[in-house]
Every structure is written in structure tokens, then in C-alpha cells.
């Protein structure tokens, strides 16, 4: 099970949309106490749609790569669409099936975004 294919490592080394800015519509911190993965996400919203995403994080390769890929995926998506995303979508996004022990790593960024947005 090739978790560490080049895509994951590439996003881990050079994550997209990395670096927080001075002002953002929404900022939210997420943390996995069991393993110490953490992420801070900033979102710009316009007319119920995500127009910009920035993030910074510290954690395992899976959590950082998932945050990077997610930061691209949710742009120009509606809040309602984002609230419906789940582990199936994260697996599709990563291009693999997360083993049970790593699901919380892969979902951290998504859960943080979903908690930050109005339901």
C-alpha cells in the first residue's frame, strides 16, 4: 500500500497555499491530540463561496499533504458542498485509501475547515 507515493511527499515538501496572512474572513486552528498533528486555516468567503485558502501546519506527511490538496480542492466551492465532504472524498483527493490509523491525519484539515464554516 503505497502511501508515500511521490504526490504525498511533494505536497508535504512544497505545500500549496502555505503561509498565513494578516487578515482573513475566517481563521481556525485544528489539532489531533493523539498524534500532535496541527493546522491553522484561513478562508476568504464571497457570496457563500470560498475564494481563497491559506494554511500552516505541523504534523505528519499525510496531514500536511491532505491540507495542501484540500486548500486547492475547496476553492470556488460553496459552503454547502464543503460541509458534505467526507473521508471518501479525501481518499479520492489523495488517490488512495487511508488505513484506519491515518484517517484522522487525512481528515484534520477538512474537519477544521468544516468547523470554521457556518453549517
Amino acid at each position: 500500500m503505497d502511501l508515500y507515493r511521490e504526490q504525498i511527499l511533494e505536497h508535504y515538501r512544497h505545500p500549496l497555499n502555505w503561509g498565513l496572512v494578516q487578515r482573513a474572513d475566517i481563521e481556525r486552528h485544528g489539532y489531533n491530540p493523539l498524534c500532535g498533528d496541527e493546522v491553522t486555516i484561513q478562508l476568504q468567503i464571497n457570496n457563500g463561496m470560498i475564494t481563497e485558502v491559506r494554511f500552516e501546519g505541523k504534523g505528519c506527511a499525510v496531514s500536511v499533504a491532505a491540507a495542501s490538496l484540500l486548500s486547492e480542492m475547496i476553492q470556488k466551492k460553496s459552503i454547502a458542498t464543503i460541509q458534505r465532504l467526507g473521508v471518501v472524498d479525501i481518499n479520492l483527493m489523495l488517490g488512495l485509501n487511508l488505513p484506519p490509523a491515518r484517517i484522522s491525519c487525512g481528515l484534520l484539515a477538512l474537519k477544521t475547515v468544516q468547523a470554521a464554516l457556518p453549517s
Binding site: 498524534c35 500532535g36 506527511a61
Partner: protein, 418 residues
């Protein structure tokens, strides 16, 4: 011993050659199992003992009067006597079977609760496992006692000096792991007990990691309580025991109450059973405890000398081999003199910390089993200024080639992230 010539055993490290006794390696020939501190693999004889009981002798204990039940009770109590001998305890009444070390520690804290008052102190080290922190945290909350934390210094050995500084007339309990499950240091139990007893404090030894690695003579140590693990000592899951001095147990009430703990019950009253059955509520893990006797016999045949020499060889080999990986930082004592085969470490590649979950996953692809995370020791992680660590730990079936494969896989991991 002649220090000029080395025996072939010393050269090859083959003080123990027991891999063939463990069926897991027949079924998984490529497996490099380096998570023995989490749990140990089982020798065929132990599996057979349990199966044999289940197939031909199965019955409950301490309850019924037909032959099967009487024999099962005899076998269960024979394990208790075997454990007594294993620890050189004065009486088998001082051996209480529990489902786990965690539950044994909860029981000890409950028993000690009776003699702890507001303003009293409980001393423990920052490196302790949560199972040897949370019960004391709860007792401190309930009684108004204070937890006094022993701080590690750069040596990352048991902080004996800090114990000498912090012991006082208010200290009621000193608790310490015999072997640290993260740092691997071996604690100087005799000195710890001497310091504690000088102020009348009781010592609770967490021997979860040492039951399989070092002999414990409770008589010569004069220990108050020692908790030991079955499943980390090549025995079944769900087996563990508490040794407690009879005088500490005699008037104590059980933590878990119910069937088996009583002499008499009415609607409004209870008269507790004798020691140790008072502390063994409910139907125990009968088949597990019976197989545990075979476990102790198996270890006795290997001899402590071989087990200890095997450990020493692996510790030396691992420290040397792993120190040749520049990205690796090893935790715990630097010398093999007072450490066991438990190795916690992290990898930093080009200034970037590699998460132990990533290391574990990549090593899994190499058929190597290690552990990553906070190891149920968050205060220790905080004291070391890390969030998580990777941990490799050996057992009697581990070999130097396991260490070689670990080292190669770690080099490959560093390569992957650079």
C-alpha cells in the same frame, strides 16, 4: 571470565536462539517485530497450554465442586504459587491476579488512598506511563494530597538525586517504573526503596517492562507493591498481577466489588473475603492464568543469565548501529550500562522533523513493526519538548539482524524525505 577471548556466543549475540519457538515467525518469516514493549509474541508451548485447557479441562474456578472445576481451581492456584516463587514473595496470598497492569495500579492507588491525607505527597517521575500517573492524580484530587514530580536531567536516567531532594516526612508514596517504557532506563530500585522507607513512604514499582527482562526479588528489595505484566512477558493478553506485602493488603477493601470478593452479604452489609481472593472479583481469565504458569516455566528454562546477556548484547549492538545514522537522535541513557532494549528516537532530515507516524508507516512497508506516538506519556513528551517519538523495542526472539534491517529502513526513510 576470560576477557581476552570472546566466546562464539558473544560474537554472534546468540545467547538466546528462540525464534523457532514462536509460530508468528513461521507465519510471517519476513517480520521484524520491534514492538515487544507494547506486547510480546507467544511461544508455541503457551498457546498449547491455553488451547489444551480450553479443549480438555475447561471449567470455572473457586465456585463449583465437580472434578473439572476442582482441577481448574488447582491449576489456577498453582500459577499463583509459581508467581510467588518467580518473585520470591513470602506468601502466595501476596499475589493478586488482575486483567492488566493498568488495573493493578488502579487497585494499588485505591489501597494507598486509605493512608493518604490532605497535605501528603506522592512522588512520581515525569517519565511515567499514564497508567501510573492517572490513578495518583485522582487520589491527589480526592484527598488534597500533592503530586511531586521528579525531573529528568541530561543523562535521561532515573533522577535519583531529585528523589533525594524531594523526599520528605510528608511523602506517603513513591512510585517508579523499574524500566522506562520510552527512555529504557533501568531504575535503581534498591536506592529508591531505601530513600522512601527512610521516611516511612511506600514504594510502588511498575514492573510492566521489567517482568520479562530482569529478575525481581521482592524479599531482598523489601518492596511494598510491585505490578507485573503477563502479556509483555510472553504470556496471554489479560494476565497481570500485583504483589503486595500482606500487611498492606490485610485490612484493605477491594476496588472492584462483586462475586468472589465476599465471605458474606446481606441487604445492608458485606464481609470481605480473605486475601487475595477479596481482590479478584468476577470470573477471571482462567485459561490465561493457567497458561501463564507455562510462561514462567519457559523463562526459567532460558535462565535469567541468558536473558540478561541477550539484552545487553542487543542494547550495545543497537546503540552502536543506530548512532551511525546521522539523522537519528536517540533518547534515554547513552550507555548500555543501565538501559534496556527499548529505543525511542526521532529523525530529522535537512532540518525537518519526520513524524513518527510516517516513520512507522514506511517501516511497515519494510515489514518492520515499531511504535510511534506519545506512548501514553504526555508529561514525558512535554518534558522532552517533543510531540511524539518513534520507538523500537526488542524481545528474547530479537536478533542483531533485526537491528540491521531497522537501520537500513531508517536510512531509506531519511532518503525518501530528503
Amino acid at each position: 571470565m576470560n576477557t581476552q577471548t570472546r566466546t562464539s556466543k558473544q560474537i554472534t549475540g546468540l545467547y538466546l536462539d528462540v525464534r523457532k519457538d514462536f509460530p508468528i515467525f513461521h507465519h510471517n518469516p519476513q517480520l521484524v517485530y520491534l514492538d515487544s514493549a507494547a506486547t510480546t509474541q507467544k511461544p508455541q508451548v503457551i498457546i498449547d497450554a491455553e488451547t489444551n485447557f480450553l479443549e480438555s479441562r475447561y471449567a470455572t474456578v473457586h465456585r463449583s465442586f465437580y472434578d473439572l472445576a476442582l482441577q481448574a481451581t488447582e491449576m489456577y492456584e498453582a500459577t499463583r504459587e509459581a508467581v510467588r516463587k518467580f518473585m520470591n514473595a513470602a506468601s502466595s496470598q501476596e499475589i493478586i491476579f488482575t486483567p492488566s497492569v493498568t488495573e493493578a495500579l488502579n487497585l494499588v492507588a485505591w489501597i494507598e488512598n486509605q493512608r493518604i491525607d490532605e497535605g501528603d505527597e506522592i512522588i512520581l517521575c515525569t517519565s511515567e506511563h499514564h497508567s501510573n500517573i492517572l490513578p495518583w492524580q485522582r487520589i491527589a484530587e480526592k484527598t488534597g494530597a500533592t503530586l511531586m514530580w521528579l525531573e529528568l536531567d541530561e543523562s535521561q536516567e532515573f533522577p535519583l538525586e531529585d528523589l533525594r531532594n524531594k523526599i520528605s516526612s510528608r511523602t506517603k508514596v513513591v512510585t517508579a517504573a523499574h524500566i522506562s517504557h520510552v527512555l529504557g532506563f533501568i531504575s535503581p530500585l534498591q536506592e529508591i526503596i531505601q530513600v522512601a522507607h527512610s521516611v516511612g513512604a511506600h514504594v510502588v514499582v511498575d514492573a510492566a517492562q521489567s517482568t520479562s527482562r530482569l529478575p525481581l526479588n521482592v524479599a531482598s528489595l523489601n518492596a511494598d507493591f510491585v505490578v507485573c505484566s503477563g502479556h509483555k512477558t510472553y504470556g496471554p493478553f489479560g494476565t497481570a498481577w500485583l504483589y503486595g506485602k500482606y500487611e498492606h493488603l490485610e485490612h484493605a477493601s477491594p476496588l472492584i466489588v462483586g462475586g468472589g470478593t465476599i465471605q458474606h452479604v446481606t441487604r445492608g452489609s458485606v464481609e470481605w473475603n480473605t486475601v487475595p481472593l477479596r481482590f479478584e472479583a468476577g470470573t477471571p481469565n482462567v485459561s490465561g492464568v493457567i497458561a501463564l504458569k507455562e510462561t514462567l516455566t519457559y523463562l526459567e528454562h532460558l535462565t535469567w543469565a541468558s536473558i540478561i546477556n541477550h539484552e545487553k548484547y542487543l542494547v550495545d549492538y543497537a546503540l552502536r548501529t543506530l548512532s551511525s545514522i546521522p539523522e537519528l537522535r536517540m533518547f534515554g541513557p547513552a550507555s548500555s550500562r543501565n538501559r534496556s532494549s527499548i529505543f525511542s528516537f526521532n529523525l530529522t532530515v535537512q532540518g525537518h522533523h519526520i513524524h513518527s507516524h510516517d516513520i512507522s508507516s514506511i517501516l511497515n512497508d519494510h515489514n518492520i513493526a515499531i511504535r510511534g506516538g506519545h506512548h501514553c506519556s504526555l508529561p514525558l513528551m512535554q518534558a522532552l519538548h517533543v510531540t511524539e517519538l518513534a520507538r523500537a523495542s526488542c524481545g528474547i526472539y530479537s536478533t542483531s539482524s533485526d537491528i540491521d534491517r531497522l537501520a537500513n529502513a531508517l536510512r531509506a526513510t531519511a532518503e525518501l524525505f530528503s
